[in-house]
């Protein structure tokens, strides 16, 4: 045992276990044990448990703190949450890869069958430019309509007794559910058109080749512009195709010519000025 006594700071530190070198001395020295006991009593008194705060205070403080939180775009949080999920799910990567492969295979099958049927019903051969545009939009992740259209059947507008109904149904299909309809409008149309807007005049990127009756319509009316809309419909018992033609050299606000053409001989059943 050291003959020298620790100073009061050392005894206080000894009480906290922060001065183990004095353990032996204090244990054998009554003169040091007394201040150690006093300081320990003080420490115990100070360390008495604090009454729990009211829950309302806690809620208020947390709410205020959350309000003061810097605004996050949410992506970081999502990424962090996803990262933590990933780390706890080692099977996730192979599973995701398998699902992606299955989807790619399935879409390939559907695409090839759609193109086959399209070629049998198309009167003219497929222009390479249109296909290239379709692929470009698809590759660039251009949106649901353009990507999904080749594998989706054209929407059916039902019975169209008159021109007003034709116009109204097209507007409804475009403005109401273009994105899920897979109705053959361009991606831009699908995204922006509402019943009060006009059809845009660019060629529909999902139109692969010409549409049924398109050529006959052009023969009759050479001023018709590119096809911007296509659907099926009927008039009574007569099945038909609905084609929306932009005007040549038209602007985004030019009206579209909507034609309902009989499927059997492409005769014109209805005509309406589009939106």
């Amino acid at each position: 045992m050291s003959s020298q006594h620790p100073d009061i700071d050392a005894i206080s530190a000894y009480v906290d276990g922060e001065a183990p070198e004095w353990t032996e001395h204090v244990a054998g020295c009554a003169q040091c044990r007394e201040p150690a006991a006093t300081l320990r009593a003080v420490a115990v008194a100070v360390g008495r448990p604090v009454s729990p705060p009211p829950a309302a205070d806690r809620d208020r403080a947390v709410a205020a703190a959350l309000e003061a939180a810097p605004v996050s775009d949410g992506h970081d949080a999502e990424r962090a949450r996803f990262a933590s999920r990933r780390s706890s799910r080692p099977w996730a990567k192979p599973a995701v890869a398998a699902v992606v492969l299955a989807l790619v295979a399935a879409s390939g099958l559907v695409l090839s069958s759609y193109r086959s049927s399209d070629e049998t019903t198309t009167l003219a051969g497929p222009p390479a430019e249109s296909e290239a545009k379709t692929d470009a939009v698809t590759r660039s992740g251009g949106g649901g309509v353009a990507a999904a259209a080749p594998s989706a059947p054209p929407s059916d507008l039902g019975d169209l007794p008159d021109a007003a109904t034709l116009r109204a149904r097209v507007l409804g299909a475009v403005g109401g559910s273009a994105a899920t309809d897979a109705s053959p409008l361009s991606e831009a149309n699908a995204r922006h058109l509402t019943p009060t807007t006009t059809l845009s005049q660019g060629p529909a990127p999902n139109v692969v080749g010409t549409r049924p009756c398109e050529e006959q319509a052009r023969t009759r009316e050479p001023s018709l512009g590119p096809v911007v809309y296509f659907a099926t419909a009927r008039q009574g018992q007569v099945a038909g195709f609905v084609l929306g033609f932009g005007a040549v050299g038209s602007t985004a606000t030019s009206p579209v010519t909507l034609l309902l053409l009989a499927q059997d001989d492409c005769r014109e059943l209805l005509r309406a000025a589009g939106p």
Binding site: I8, D9, T38, L39, A45, P53, R58, V62, L66, A77
Partner: protein
């Protein structure tokens, strides 16, 4: 923690609630009354949220949070010194708090009074040690002072508290005992 740092409000909420009681205890002992403690703790949580992006993880989050909270308490005490003291209604010191389950109102008032008699820097060191259970190194980090200074502040603080909290006992009975160096 990472989610909270990147702004996930759910994670932030969980983190703050998990630490609230401990931080409140620090505020309560530093401030000396419930209302100031609640204010200081709320300020502390806001400071934690604002500063979380800058928390580099070198210290434990708890230590860092104690540091932020201690600073919030010291700010609150400075503000309190600037505003006029309305004084306590007569007899209020003896009124038991319905929330006070952990100690009698008398010992609580004694302890509060004793702690308030200490300089704030000493009080912070003592409270971080005896209430929060931090090591001297962690207190040094939290208060941004050398560990030797922590040691002397705790010792002097306890010595000053002894007459109130350990009456009849003398922490320094030997006239030969050296004081701190």
């Amino acid at each position: 923690m990472q989610a909270a740092k990147s702004g996930d409000r759910g994670a932030l909420d969980t983190l703050l609630r998990r630490h609230y009681d401990r931080l409140y205890a620090l505020c309560r002992r530093m401030a000396g009354d419930d209302a100031d403690a609640a204010d200081a703790c709320q300020e502390a949580l806001m400071a934690i949220v604002r500063g979380l992006a800058g928390f580099d993880g070198r210290a434990a989050f708890g230590t860092w949070a104690y540091r932020v909270t201690t600073n919030s308490c010291l700010d609150e005490l400075r503000r309190r010194r600037r505003r006029p003291d309305p004084g306590l209604p007569e007899g209020s010191a003896e009124l038991p708090s319905p929330l006070d389950h952990a100690e009698s109102s008398t010992t609580r008032v004694d302890l509060d009074r004793a702690l308030q008699s200490l300089p704030a820097d000493y009080r912070a060191a003592v409270v971080l040690r005896d209430v929060c259970g931090l090591s001297y190194d962690e207190i040094a980090q939290a208060l941004d002072i050398p560990a030797g200074t922590v040691r002397s502040r705790i010792s002097r603080g306890r010595t000053a508290l002894a007459p109130s909290l350990a009456p009849g006992r003398n922490p320094n009975p030997s006239s030969e005992r050296p004081t701190s160096t």
